[in-house]
């Protein structure tokens, strides 16, 4: 195989209205096995995917929100959230899950995986990627 590539998965849809979020997560988890440089972007309604307090009992669907908390165990530690998408929906960082990872280069200190960036910064991060998949 070639060198390590930068993969970014762009999540644009709400978590339970369609299957995009769940099936995106399935690709993300598989990609972790390929030792690539993986990051996630949350824009538009995609920011709802990582809201805290999700309960799905009433709609008969499996709650896959806890999987986002486990991404750090798969060395997926870069979750970019677009500030404007939060603003447009009346959300703040406090509404999102406290997703963390253990930094092996810093004595396994717990660090936040979520990084809130502006639309301009998000465009710059996307520009640095080798492979972008949008769901």
């Amino acid at each position: 195989m070639s060198d390590v590539k930068k993969f970014m998965y762009v999540n644009r849809k709400a978590p339970y209205g369609t299957i995009y979020a769940l099936e995106s997560l399935e690709v993300v988890l598989i990609s972790a096995a390929f030792d690539q440089d993986v990051s996630l972007a949350f824009v538009d309604d995609g920011v709802y995917q990582i809201m805290k307090g999700t309960k799905t009992d009433g709609i008969g669907m499996k709650n896959f929100s806890p999987v986002y908390n486990a991404l750090g165990d798969y060395d997926i530690t870069k979750l970019y959230v677009e500030q404007e998408s939060l603003d447009e929906r009346g959300l703040t960082l406090d509404d999102l899950m406290d997703i963390k990872y253990e930094d092996e280069d810093d004595d396994w200190a717990e660090k936040p995986s979520i990084k809130v960036v502006s639309r301009k910064e998000m465009a710059d991060v996307m520009d640095q990627q080798d492979v972008l998949m949008s769901f």
Partner: protein, 130 residues
């Protein structure tokens, strides 16, 4: 250039499959290599041979199958997405205890690793979706 294509929507409901097909044809005509076409989400529905569109409409599955035969394309349907949506080949039908299969000629069913590999091995991965 070595290209791969990701098709995330089914035929007819969305234009994504038409666009992906036309893009793939155009890329081949320009002399590019298509490493793989991967069908995900409802895109797996492009790979059933049981679609019967009206006679005066295009037949996307047959177009993909014909293009595959002409250029020996690697058309891969995601197994997890396919199982949810009732797309089975002979092996999967037997393994799941189903009474038939519907995979179209020229398509094969495999795992998501094939999509990640396409991203790694290709110069560009082009996504067609909603």
């Amino acid at each position: 250039m070595k290209l791969s294509v990701l098709v995330n929507e089914g035929p007819y409901q969305h234009q994504a499959s038409d666009s992906a097909l036309l893009f793939t044809k155009a890329a081949l005509e320009k002399g590019h290599e298509i490493f793989r076409v991967f069908f995900y989400h409802d895109g797996v529905n492009n790979g059933t041979r049981f679609t019967v569109p009206p006679q005066d409409d295009r037949n996307l599955q047959e177009s993909w199958t014909a293009l595959q035969a002409e250029h020996e394309l690697d058309l891969v349907v995601c197994i997890a997405a396919a199982q949810r949506r009732g797309i089975l080949d002979e092996n999967e039908a037997e393994r799941q205890g189903k009474d038939g299969n519907n995979i179209a000629p020229g398509f094969r069913i495999s795992g998501l690793g094939q999509l990640v590999e396409a991203g790694i091995e290709s110069d560009r991965l082009v996504v067609f979706g909603d």
